[in-house]
Symmetry: C2
Subunit: 223 residues, 2 copies
Amino acid sequence: MLQIANGKSTVVYFLLSGWLCLSKTSLAGDRQIIDFLLPGNLFDPGSGDEIMASTDVSALTDARMAVIRRDVWLQYLANHRSAQDLGSRLAAAGYARIAERLLRIGKGNAETRIAYAICELGLRANRHGLVTGQKFHLPLTQQVLGDFVGLSSVHVSRTIGRLVRRGVLSYGDHMDIVIHDVETLAELAEIDPHDLQAEITTLAGRSRIAAAATDGARRLTAR
Amino acid sequence: MLQIANGKSTVVYFLLSGWLCLSKTSLAGDRQIIDFLLPGNLFDPGSGDEIMASTDVSALTDARMAVIRRDVWLQYLANHRSAQDLGSRLAAAGYARIAERLLRIGKGNAETRIAYAICELGLRANRHGLVTGQKFHLPLTQQVLGDFVGLSSVHVSRTIGRLVRRGVLSYGDHMDIVIHDVETLAELAEIDPHDLQAEITTLAGRSRIAAAATDGARRLTAR
DNA sequence: CGAACGGTTGATTAGCCTCAACAACCGTGG
DNA sequence: CCACGGTTGTTGAGGCTAATCAACCGTTCG
């Protein structure tokens, strides 16, 4: 596990493959996952200085990252308006994700939180959409999912079990998920169907951007 | 109340005085406050497009904002490295705030949430510190505070009442708060004393930056 | 003056946590 | 080959926290 130092980091990371997670741990010892990082996401430890408590980064799977010198990255942003856009878009998307989840965690019950997490991660895991019959894999344990949505692993198990018994979805070991009824799932997640559709189209569009960014990141890689 | 549109906004706002709040409302009708905006904070509706559901902005007090044309702002950022730093710092600080609060809401009990909110808002309200004997005013109702930390207003009342009875703090009408015992308050908030001290110093340092930024924002104001 | 709002308090209920036991599945090593 | 510990998930029982419903008070405001 990599602890984010308080000092200035001289590099930024661009995730090429694998899943990472950003988490915080309370003084009481409880862990809260702030966000997951998926391929195409940028991670800038330097922007994390000045924050109150530190954040941990850990890998959920094997992962490959492009390490980019910070000055090179900033220079690149300054010179390329489109890249500057990309940077702020990635940041805004991260903020939007966490805000949306905050709403579910602050006001939603266990079903809402779990359903929303599955929708969010399912959408991000395969950048194409989220439809009935779709199968995907999330490299998470129920413990990790609980730390993500603020539930105990026991209650995660019960809640998912209820969803399975109701026929909304089924899942095999290690979070191999098959969605049987997207409408119900989205409804439980309190996602506006219109928003869901909008998110699907923007996500699909973003995979092109991500592909281009990945190429760029490779070129900028520090040696 | 201003609903953030999905289309591109052509301006950004720099808050000169007053308190605003950003909130989301679930389909079930529950409101979650994402963050408060205080003087010196920047608000960029344009970076909010592509997000799943929209965000509302409402004013808690009378407020004055500098309205800056978006292209002017971006140009300014591109030309001034220090301003670029400022922009990313403000964004990072916003992200850090919400992440830190997510930890409390996801894993903390009512006392922790309330104590943390009072610490966070107290620190931001007067940019100098947070010490025993300090008095400050938060322009919030208990209902708003509840929407902020994910509790019902009834439970907010009970929890604050308990803190008052224990002698940790006292407060008059409309959230005039006097802190009697910072150590205990910080402990309940699960704030590492070391982090608290660090936050106080950076906040103090930031007031200079904010003052400079406010001047800059006034000059950039669109007519 | 009545109406609306913010806050307090009581009683009851529901949801989630905790503890605990157990099953299934790994990889390891005898 | 099987025994073993470790991890993950499932299920049950009980307890506690916070939500809900409701009544009430004080203040403000039309």
